[in-house]
Amino acid sequence: MAGSSANAALAALPEIAKAGPAGTGGDAPVTARMAFTVNGERRELDLDLRTSLLDALREHLHLTGSKKGCDHGQCGACTMIVNGRRINGCLTLAVMHQGAEITTIEGLGTPDALHPLQAAFIRHDGYQCGYCTPGQICSGVAVLEEIRAGIPSHATGDLTRAPDVSEAEIRERMSGNICRCGAYSNIVEAMTAFAGDPSSRSQA
C-alpha cells in the first residue's frame, strides 16, 4: 500500500519540480491515493499530499466530530485513536497512515448507543460549549487504556511500579486537551466514574 502511494507521489515529481522556486516546496498540488480504515469502514481517497489526517477525515470523509482548534498540536481538539493510540490528527499527514485503523468520536458511540465515557461526560457535566469534547473523550478512552497497559506519566510516583487511576494521573495525562470553557474538574469526575465502572473495560 505504502509503496503504491509512494509511486504515485514520485510519478508526479516533474510537475512539482517546475512549480517550486529553486527546488524548494512548490504550489502545485501533488496527489496520491490513500487508504485506511475509519471507524471500521475501509476508505480510499485521492488527496493532496499536504492533507493532514484531521483534514482528510473532516473535509473529505465529512467526519466532523474531530475538531480543529489550533492545527498545531497545542490544544488536543483533534485527538483521535490510530492503531490503538491517541494522536493529534492535525500534526500528521494522511499519507503516513496507509492501512491504519482510525477511531474517531463517531466510532466510539452514537446518539442511540453512547460510549460509557460519553454517558459519563453527560452525567458529570464534562463540557459547556462542547467543542473540545470529542477530543477529550477520545483522549480519555485512550488514557485509561494507557494506565491499564502500565505506561507511566509525569505524575507516576514510582517508575518501577504500575501507575494507578488517580486524580493526579488523570489530570496530568489529560493535559494535552485544553478546554476553553474550563470544564476540567467535571471531566476528571467523568473519567473517574468511567474508570471505576467495570463494564467500561471492553468498551474502548
Binding site: 505504502a2 509503496g3 502511494s5 509512494a6 507521489a9 514520485l10 508526479a12 515529481l13 512539482i16 519540480a17 512549480a19 517550486g20 527546488g23 524548494t24 516546496g25 512548490g26 504550489d27 502545485a28 498540488p29 501533488v30 496520491a32 493532496d48 499530499l49 499536504r50 493532514s52 492545527d71 498545531h72 498540536g73 488536543g76 485527538t79 493510540r85 491517541r86 494522536i87 493529534n88 500534526l91 500528521t92 499527514l93 499519507v95 503516513m96 483522549s139 485512550a142 488514557v143 494507557e146 497497559a149 502500565g150 505506561i151 507511566p152 506519566s153 509525569h154 507516576t156 517508575l159 518501577t160 489530570r171 496530568e172 495525562r173 493535559s175 494535552g176
Partner: protein, 316 residues
C-alpha cells in the same frame, strides 16, 4: 504549506540515498515538529522521505550492558520500557516531562533530538531571524528574550534547544549512530551532536542533510539516584524555562546537565567535581561565562535553585 513529493523507503541506506538524491529533501518521522514548521512555511521541503518503514523501532540490549534505541522508537515506548524505567530513570522522567501523551505517541527518538528551537522570533516569519533566514538578523537580541539562552549564545543567535529528552541523553553520555547516502556509518557522542550557534545559527547540529539517525545508544547503567527536574510556566504541557538532569551517587559525586539555558543541552564535566559541595558551587562552575539578557537573567538563579531541589530529591 508548500507542496512536496513523498516516498517511504524500506531501508536506512535507501532513505539516506533518497534524501541525497533530491534538493531540499527531508526525513519525516513523527512529523510533530516538521509539519508544524511546514504549515508556517518555516520549513519548505520539496520532498519528504518517510522513515517510519525502516524497522528502526526496537530497543535492544548491547553487549556492553547498555541499550540501543532505534531512531523510530516512540517517546511513549521509550519512557515505558522496563529497562529504561529501572536503569535510566532520568531518561524516562525527562521524556514524561515533555509534551503530551498524544504527542509522545507520535514523537520519535531521532525527531526529538532534532526538533528545532521554540524561539518566538524563529516562529514569526515577519521577524528577522538568522536561524530561519541566514543574514537577516536576530530579533530576539533586542526583543523579548525571557525563554532564550543565557550561555553559549552568539551575536547571531541566542536560541535554546527545547528538548527535555536530549538533556537526559547528554547526562547519560549517549551516542548517536548515523548512516549517510554512501552507506557510511558514523557514531557521534551526544555532546558533539548539537552545536553552539556561532555565526551559523541555521545549523542546529553537526549532521549532514543526508545523514539519517539510525539509533541512540546508552552506555551501561550508572546507578545512583536519577532525577529530572523541570521548571515551566504551567504544571504540564509547556517547554522548560530551566531543567536539570542529575545522576547522583551515594557519596555525593555525580553528573548534571541543564536544559533551557543554551543552544544545546548544557553540561560542563569539569564543574561536576563540585557536586559534593552543593548546588551553588556546581551551578557557579557550570555557568561561569554566562551572558544573560535583562529578560532572562533570572534563569541563572533558577538553575541553581532547580539543581538544589534536584540534589535534595536525589538524597531523599
Amino acid at each position: 504549506m508548500k507542496s512536496f513529493t513523498y516516498e517511504r523507503p524500506g531501508s536506512p541506506a535507501e532513505a539516506a540515498a533518497a534524501v541525497a538524491r533530491r534538493p531540499h529533501a527531508k526525513f519525516i518521522a513523527g512529523g510533530t515538529n516538521l509539519l508544524d514548521l511546514m504549515k508556517l512555511q518555516i520549513e519548505t521541503p520539496a520532498h519528504l522521505v518517510d522513515v517510519n518503514g525502516l524497522g528502526l523501532d526496537r530497543i535492544e540490549d548491547t553487549p556492553e550492558g547498555g541499550l540501543r534505541i532505534g531512531a523510530l522508537v516512540r517517546n511513549t515506548d521509550l519512557a515505558a520500557d522496563e529497562r529504561v524505567r529501572r536503569d535510566y530513570g532520568v531518561l524516562a522522567r525527562a521524556l514524561l516531562a515533555g509534551a503530551t501523551g498524544q504527542l509522545r505517541n507520535q514523537a520519535t527518538t531521532a525527531g526529538n533530538l532534532l526538533q528545532r528551537t521554540r524561539c518566538p522570533y524563529f516562529y514569526d516569519t515577519a521577524q528577522a531571524c538568522n536561524k530561519r533566514r541566514p543574514g537577516s538578523g536576530c530579533a530576539a537580541l533586542d526583543g523579548v528574550s525571557r525563554q532564550l539562552a543565557v550561555i553559549g549564545g552568539s551575536e547571531a543567535c541566542i536560541a535554546t534547544h527545547p528538548s527535555d529528552m536530549a538533556v537526559a541523553m547528554r547526562v547519560l553520555d549517549a551516542t548517536v549512530e548515523t548512516i549517510d547516502a554512501a552507506g557510511a556509518a558514523r557514531t557521534i557522542p551526544i555532546s558533539e551532536l548539537h552545536r553552539l550557534p556561532g555565526d551559523e545559527p541555521e545549523r542546529d547540529t553537526t549532521l549532514e542533510p543526508d545523514e539519517l539517525i539510525t539509533a541512540v545508544t546508552l552506555p551501561k547503567p550508572l546507578g545512583g539516584a536519577q532525577v529530572y527536574r523541570k521548571v515551566r510556566d504551567r504544571a504540564s504541557y509547556a517547554f522548560a524555562l530551566v531543567s536539570v538532569a542529575a545522576v547522583v551517587q551515594p557519596d555525593g559525586t555525580g553528573r548534571v546537565a541543564f536544559g533551557g539555558l543554551a543552544h544545546k543541552p548544557w553540561r560542563v564535566e569539569a564543574a561536576e567535581g563540585e557536586l559534593p559541595r552543593g548546588a551553588k558551587a556546581t551551578a557557579e562552575a557550570a555557568l561561569a561565562g554566562a551572558h544573560p539578557t535583562p529578560d532572562n537573567a533570572f534563569k541563572l538563579a533558577l538553575a541553581e535553585r532547580t539543581l538544589g531541589a534536584a540534589l535534595k530529591q536525589a538524597r531523599a
